[in-house]
């Protein structure tokens, strides 16, 4: 078969969000890949500047449909840092609790998707069924399945009742058993294992050089975890292990994520046993004093960074978000070289990509002439009005 180019994206069944990967093939072997981002740019950073600090929290929550709590926590920490607010201890514990629940449901989602990408739909259905356990628990606590709306500047908005704690404990019992089952399936079932082993491999040095974060880095043996390295919320007081693996392939990534589900369950148990009493929030001023802050958060996919600047008004001056997917995309491009078409979807899915969180700009470029255009909102509405 002669050389050909296959487009994976912007619309493709393997991608859950539109983003373009163009593969040049030689037979079934990938020669090179051209990654083009920007298809789901939403302008959230700019929109934050037109909203008050509290409104911005709700907008930030909608950066990501999976790690919504990660982004708000990261943003609130930055703002609290600027305003010099001391978050109560109980609020910090609740933030960590929700953060770990989010990690569990995110990793279960990844496991299901990984199963789907390699044609193992039964694993997909099972993992997503049990993900409902944690989503139901989140709904019981916060009233929402996805965008929990738990965070506010200065603390959290909802307290945990004794009934919530009891419900969580029973959810944990189910999850503990299921997590063990999935570890067995994913790491023992030979056809599934065969599709992950040795695929999408990066070395430890490459992982460091390419600036990977989160489970992708830990799977290659890089021992980083902000919860331990730069503790925030309640993590400084909670004992837990950082899960790492050595091989740097997707099987290692699966091992790390499944191990993290078990660690998250341990952290949840510790938090429920040691939940301190007290208020859940301090009152935040309407105007945040001038200043700037950078906040880091270990999201399920890796390090999430928010930069916030205030000029003393009731609106943010500048908000900058660096989602973990952007840091991991270089590793995808690197590990694509020389792989087979069959492994493309699982390698892309291997970093657990979240494209709409990543996109920061759209570049309008004519494919033939290479001319770049800048369009204003008015131009767009004039040109595409119906």
């Amino acid at each position: 078969m002669s050389d050909m180019e296959i487009p994976v994206g912007p619309q493709h069944p393997a991608l859950k969000e539109p983003e373009s990967f163009r593969f040049e093939l030689e037979g079934e072997i990938v020669k090179s890949v051209d990654i083009r981002l920007g298809y789901v740019h939403r302008g959230i950073e700019r929109a934050c500047q037109d909203r008050t600090w509290i409104q911005a929290v709700y907008l930030i929550e909608r950066i990501c449909g999976i790690c919504s709590h990660s982004h708000t926590t990261c943003f609130c920490q930055a703002v609290e840092d600027i305003a010099g607010l001391e978050v109560p201890r109980r609020a910090r514990y609740i933030r960590s609790l929700i953060g770990e629940m989010e990690r569990i449901h995110s990793h279960l989602l990844w496991l299901g998707l990984a199963g789907h990408e390699v044609g193992f739909d039964t694993l997909f259905m099972y993992a997503w069924r049990d993900r409902e356990v944690i989503l139901d628990a989140l709904e019981a606590i916060s009233g929402n399945r996805v965008n929990y709306g738990m965070n506010t500047i200065g603390g959290v908005r909802r307290d945990l009742s004794d009934r919530d704690v009891e419900e969580l404990r029973s959810a944990i019992r189910i999850l503990e058993e299921r997590a063990g089952y999935y570890t067995d399936i994913a790491l023992e079932e030979s056809t599934f294992r065969g599709r992950l082993e040795g695929v999408g491999k990066i070395t430890k040095q490459q992982a460091i050089d390419l600036g990977t974060v989160g489970p992708t880095a830990r799977a290659a043996g890089v021992n980083v975890d902000l919860r331990r390295d730069d503790p925030y919320a309640a993590y400084g007081e909670i004992p837990f292990n950082v899960v790492t693996a050595e091989d740097g392939d997707l099987l290692a990534a699966a091992q790390v994520r499944l191990g993290e589900i078990r660690e998250s369950i341990r952290i949840m148990k510790y938090i429920l046993d040691n939940l301190p009493d007290g208020p859940i929030a301090v009152k935040a001023p309407r105007r945040i004093p001038p200043g700037e802050a950078c906040s880091r958060y270990e999201a399920p996919r890796g390090e999430d960074i928010h930069y916030v600047r205030s000029s003393g008004g009731d609106k943010p001056d500048r908000v900058k978000v660096r989602a973990p997917t952007l840091a991991n995309l270089n590793a995808v491009a690197e590990s694509m070289k020389g792989v087979r078409v069959a492994d493309i979807p699982i390698i892309i899915a291997g970093i657990d990509p979240c494209f709409s969180c990543t996109d920061r700009l759209v570049r309008l470029q004519d494919r033939t002439s290479g001319r770049v255009e800048v369009l204003r909102w008015q131009d767009l509405s004039r040109r595409y009005r119906r």
Partner: protein, 329 residues
Amino acid sequence: MLLEKRRLAFTGSTDPENGFDMTVINDLFKILVFPGFLFVVNLGLFLEWVDRKIYARLQNRIGPPWYQPWLDVLKLFSKEDVIPEGASSFMFTWLPVFYLAVTVTAFLCIPVGAYAAVYSFPGDLIVVLFLLTLATIILFLLGWYSGSPFGRVGAVRAVTQFLAYEVPLVAALLTQALLADSWSISLVMARTTVGFPRFVGVHLIALAVALISLQGKLLRVPFDAPEAETEIVAGPLTEYTGRRLAFIRLAERTEMAVGVGLVSDLFLPFPARLGVFGFVISTILVTFVLSVLRASVARFRIEDTTVLAWKYILPFSALGMVLAIIVRG
């Protein structure tokens, strides 16, 4: 041909009252209604439902209601039909029709339980296998002429996989034919599946090989690389829509009915004993096994499929054949 011959043989039966040949109606009924076109298409759609329902239950889902496959096809017939720019319009239009024609013709040679096939003759087993091979070639052409890179990758994978499963499939059926000392499906049925089988071990080897290669023939998980959704969208079928896709869907279901029916007839005891009812029961049983296989594994890469077929399944099927030759003396 068939009609012509029958008419010559039965000229005496022409109804003198209106001068009309009743055997023509009889033949047309057999070809178009039972056990021909209508029966096999509906059997195929029914087996699709059985497959989807079992697959869903194994995945802890509810699954579709029994009439869902029919609704799907009806809806496809009403949908917009697009011929892509890069596609060959002639091939794009006619290949789906040929596909359906080939698979339905293959079924005409398959006895429905004790009910004789529409067209039965010594060597019809070879014809069925040939027509099934033709179906795969048509699938290749479908993808190749659809003008899509996904279609082309899928087409090449389809023929690559064909090289992997075809030899074991033929060898497994040949084992049955050797044991029965005949190439006629109905004779093999009569000789091997009625009464307690004398060579259970050999039958079982052939059955296992036949089931696995049939899974490959029908492009089902773990051998669905040619149509792997997450990799190449729908492989050869990527560009197809509307009526043409409906034809392909029907052809694929018919192919499933042919493959499953063939294995049921040749290996299971029920079709020969319980007639049409036994035939349907057997096809459900075989579908059940194929569904469980589909639900319990991940997809193989195309090169893994080839290695698996040539390294493990082929020697196994050859063993069955050698044993068959030895026990038959």
